[in-house]
């Protein structure tokens, strides 16, 4: 059967090819080459995005070897109210996040200067600076890397979905019937593996750009050291009297959006829900725990002071040790 090429896919393919050629002509930032240890962030200038989905397709193509290959039938779950998540029959879904689609294009139509304008922008994991998914993962399956990437190790994840619950944007998506839980207690613990954008950690290790950045025909995204990316985002925002999202959200992320329209406006009108994250302001989820962690330094000192106080009291009374009840 001959392959059908629609006009849309032809234009998209052409744009992607131009983007790839364009991107390859740009030198990869030195800090991106060879498994950088510096925290890297991406800048997404939503003015540039044309919603062609070249990034979505490139993401799917490059990450296909990482996608789940579930075994069926799925193990019977105990208790029966535990639901399975199966996206293996709908792998071609592109308009939301799934275990087979780690990046999608979100759309928001707003009124700008009295005229209706539609913005499109890529959405995926924000790669938080202090990611609650990695902090609260009980197995160490979700982790932050030194270069600012937060990734989930599919070989270890049990698919409990805790990372999705604690993520302010509920990014990770579960696929049942795959992963370590099948070898432990498949009916009683775990439920698959959680999947999300890993910002092409393997490509970055090889000195390549993440696929979505490399293929973009409009250079919507840029990657570099976080401080440089934040500086550039502020420069653009100042120039266009624009707005920034991701710099302070959840205590800071490594995905910085710049928009000429307030993100509250975009958030109001864009489609949100499962697999379609919001763009609301987000407080630092780990702030309370971090403050308590710092306070823990004084705990042993307080305990030691109490013991010394007791000892002093008893020696002062001429009794070296507290007597036990006879």
């Amino acid at each position: 059967m001959p392959n059908k090429i629609s006009r849309r896919s032809f234009i998209k393919g052409g744009l992607a090819a131009i983007g790839a050629v364009g991107a390859s002509s740009f030198p990869v930032p030195a800090t991106v080459r060879g498994a950088p240890q510096e925290e890297l962030a991406t800048l997404i200038d939503i003015r540039k995005c044309i919603g062609c989905e070249a990034c979505v397709e490139a993401c799917q193509e490059v990450n296909a070897p990482k996608f789940p290959a579930p075994k069926k039938p799925f193990p019977k779950m105990v208790p029966s109210r535990v639901k399975v998540s199966d996206w293996s029959e709908t792998r071609d879904v592109m308009d939301r996040l799934t275990p087979y689609n780690w990046l999608f294009i979100q759309e928001a139509t707003v009124i700008v200067n009295g005229e209706e304008e539609t913005f499109t922008f890529p959405r995926r994991c924000m790669h938080c600076q202090n990611p609650p998914c990695a902090d609260l993962c009980p197995w160490g399956a979700a982790r932050k890397l030194k270069n600012g990437i937060t990734r989930i190790d599919a070989d270890i994840c049990l698919g409990g979905s805790k990372c999705k619950v604690v993520c302010p944007w509920h990014i990770p998506q579960r696929q049942t019937g795959v992963g370590l839980y099948l070898d432990i207690l498949p009916a009683f613990a775990g439920n698959g593996v959680m999947y999300k954008c890993d910002r092409c950690f393997d490509r970055i290790e090889q000195g390549k750009l993440p696929a979505c950045i490399e293929v973009c025909p409009e250079n919507v995204q840029k990657i570099g050291p976080r401080n440089e990316i934040v500086r550039e985002a502020h420069a653009i925002a100042k120039e266009i009297t624009g707005h920034i999202y991701g710099e302070k959200e959840n205590g800071g992320t490594n995905t910085i959006y710049v928009s000429p329209v307030p993100f509250e406006e975009l958030n109001k009108v864009m489609e949100k829900g499962p697999g379609r994250p919001h763009m609301k302001p987000v407080e630092d989820s780990m702030a309370h725990a971090d403050n308590l962690a710092k306070a823990m330094v004084i705990a042993p000192l307080a305990g030691a002071a109490a013991a010394l106080g007791k000892f002093y009291k008893f020696t002062k009374n001429g009794n070296g040790s507290e007597e036990l009840r006879k």
């Binding site: 009980p138 197995w139 160490g140 725990a289 307080a302 030691a304 013991a307």
Partner: protein, 160 residues
């Protein structure tokens, strides 16, 4: 030699003992709550227990418990060094429990450090501290139950 019976403790020592037991129960419960099991297995459905499925809340309570546990351990160590060891010896079961407790505390400290912003451990070490923290806790739990059954306490009175 027979270890010291709980009924030989003074009032303040009894309070501290109960505080320690309560602390371990809270830490154990909130620690288990870090795994997504309380909602799955209806614990959070018990009236008044809906909070148990809130990962941020159980995590915070676990941290709070760690604060008091660190203070209590520092108190117990220094108190034993300053006055306890004159009259008492630690039992073999106490040494084993101290080893497990030490493992819990050390891996717990690394886990807290890992959760701080700007602190990143290698993937292998992250996995190790996560799994070993649970492992030490399970070892402590089972050993504590075993020593409770065979009535082996922490200290014996020194014989002169």
């Amino acid at each position: 030699m027979k270890s010291l019976d709980r009924y030989e403790l003074t009032g303040s020592q009894r309070i501290l003992r109960w505080f320690y037991v309560l602390l371990l129960i809270v830490m154990g419960f909130t620690g288990f709550g870090q795994m997504p099991i309380f909602k799955r297995y209806y614990i959070a459905d018990i009236p008044g227990m809906v909070w148990a499925a809130n990962f941020y809340l159980t995590h915070y309570i676990h941290y709070l418990g760690a604060f008091f546990l660190l203070a209590l351990i520092a108190y117990a160590i220094l108190d034993y060094i300053l006055s306890g060891r004159k009259n008492f010896n630690l039992t073999a079961s106490a040494y084993l429990r101290i080893a497990f407790l030490g493992g819990i505390v050390v891996t717990g400290i690394f886990r807290v450090l890992k959760n701080l912003p700007d602190v990143v451990f290698s993937p292998g070490f992250t996995l190790f501290i996560d799994i070993s923290h649970l492992g030490f806790m399970m070892a402590y739990l089972f050993s504590a139950l075993f020593f409770l059954i065979i009535r082996s306490g922490w200290v014996t009175r020194k014989s002169y």
